[in-house]
Amino acid sequence: MSTFSEKLLKKNRHLNSNGLGMKAEVESSRRPGPSTFAMPVVLAVAAAILGSILPTSYSFILEYAVSLSIYAVATNLLLGFGGLVSFGQGVFYGLGAYTVALNWMHHGLSFWEAFALAPFVGAAASVLMGLVALRTRKLYFALLTLAFSQLAYVIVGVQYNFTSGANGIFGAMVPNWLVSPRNSFFFVLGVTVVSLLVMWKVTSSPFGLVLQASRDNRDRVEALGVNVFRHQLVAMAIAGFFCAVAGTLFVIYSQSTYPDLFLWTSSGIPVFMVVIGGMYKYMGPVIGAVVYEIAHHFLIGYTQDWQIVLGLVLVVIVLLRPDGLAGAFNGLIARRRGRVSLEGSES
């Protein structure tokens, strides 16, 4: 009898300590510790150094990769943190780029005013799309966002007089000092660092935690009195905002826009980066974006069949390593430390 009660006590104590442990973990996940801050700082400094010493032909690739990391992280706000599989982020990326380019073509505001306006255009469009798409769940949501991407592509292609259609827009739409490679690199890097910091604050805020909770157990969060729809709508607005920021950086990088940015296959690219990098780590998509762009650039020099490589990598990663490079890396470290990795979905 006594052994039984002892066992029960032990069991309870175990439960208790477990509960405490979990609480401590949640607390620590809300505040970035030194280790979580180290990698972003190292990456930013490394990028800055590389950007100033590399020949401009290479720093150009890096600049594009850096700007794409905003796109990937913003997409992951929905994908990894919200559990919302969006195949329509190209809409906001394209809107960001087209806001700047159309404004230049139709002689509207100055470049900087358009640059500041574009993210809000992206956020507004994202809310409109969210109002429709968020009524549906999971697969339907993915298919509907994919359809929106195609819709935007079709509209931009058809409205030739306003958008110059499939030709896209080319020209000197960027201020002179931004055209210089070094200036443009550091400007893009600066915007990226600020954007990633803001999104980091979003994911670690109470709002971000609710978003993750409703990804894991929507019914329970709703039962607690949270309006999940509204939270997801705000998440979509934020993601749309930053996808548009990335789109404006694309204009700075390429000084052109074209309707393919809206295509659903283009919307698949940031999803792809997220999956390469790992969606359950905040910095995972950044790694994904950099690896993707560098691989893209160098492989295209060797082979015309970039899409085959891309497709094969995608299939292999999705089937074998769904947590991406970041997950593989963490698993490696955990194994070396000789403990079983219990990494959950916390960032």
Binding site: R137, L139, A142, V275, I308, V318
Partner: protein, 289 residues
């Protein structure tokens, strides 16, 4: 009056080809719970294969070319199922979408190797380019043909699902796959059969419309969106819903072409948005949790 009738038959023919393609998608989803982005690639390969067969000097008749194209695409479907899709059964939607997106990219690239990047024309036999007059109204023969094939496919599928052992098993796989396996049915082989049938329908859809549409790389991207809209409107997994969805989409397209030609292509999306705003799981779909 005559114009309305002709627009209607044109719309019906558009709905017919959409139905044939989309019903393959919905069958696969119904029996395997897998959503297949590479379905559009199967459609494109159907169209490309027909353009090759019809164009050769041996001069295969159009119908033989269509049948051959559909069968080859179906075999391709089996390969895709064996190498990739079977591993995505029972996985989350993201895995399925991305794995089949990978297949989509590979097939798109391979397609450019085989058929190049230009437009391909599919000539039609003169019998099929004519018009017939039925009780005062004149119809293009080809539109009637596509409408007829779609109705045939619909009826054949209904008969198969209702009255054949294969059909019973497919429906059982939707309702209770475990019990089906327990009663001695090889679920894996059944799923492969369904996937091959889905690919066959996509290939058939691509093959029959090839003479009427532009055959070029990129049609895989646009048809998959149209097919998704149709299935999502009708409710994923429902063949009857797919027929309704195809009619709605084609009707929206026809109305759009008459009312506002430059915005015609947006009408289909508008129709889908309106339907989903009212019924988030589609007309005949079951709500997803």
């Amino acid at each position: 009056m005559g114009r309305i009738v002709i627009e209607t038959i044109g719309g019906l023919s558009a709905a017919g080809s959409l139905f044939v393609v989309a019903t393959g998608l919905t069958l696969v989803f119904g029996a395997m719970r897998v959503i297949n982005l590479a379905h559009g690639s199967f459609y494109m390969y159907g169209a490309f294969l027909v353009s090759t067969f019809v164009g050769t000097t041996t001069g295969l008749r159009f119908f033989w070319a269509v049948a051959l194209a559909a069968i080859i695409v179906s075999l391709l479907g089996m390969v895709v199922d064996f190498t990739v899709v079977r591993f995505t059964v029972n996985r989350d939607p993201l895995t399925q979408l991305l794995a089949t997106f990978g297949v989509f990219l590979i097939l798109a690239d391979l397609g450019q190797h085989f058929w190049g990047t230009g437009f391909r024309a599919v000539p039609l036999a003169s019998v099929l380019t004519g018009k017939v007059t039925i009780s005062g109204a004149t119809f293009p023969v080809f539109d009637l043909l596509i409408t007829g094939i779609a109705i045939l496919v619909g009826v054949a599928l209904w008969l198969m699902l209702r009255h054949s052992v294969f059909g019973w098993r497919v429906r059982a796989a939707v309702d209770d796959p475990e019990l089906l396996q327990a009663s001695g049915v090889d679920l894996r082989r059944l799923q492969m059969g369904v996937f091959a049938l889905g690919a066959l329908l996509a290939g058939l859809g691509g093959a029959i419309v090839a003479p009427q549409t532009v055959v070029a790389p990129g049609i895989d991207e646009s048809i998959i969106v149209a097919a998704f809209l149709v299935t999502v409107i009708g409710g994923l997994g429902s063949v009857l819903g797919t027929a309704l969805g195809a009619l709605i989409i084609a009707f929206a397209q026809t109305v759009g072409a008459v009312v506002a030609p430059t915005w015609a292509s947006t009408f289909t999306f508008l129709a889908a948005i309106i339907v989903l705003a009212v019924r988030p799981s589609g007309l005949l779909g079951v709500p997803e949790r």
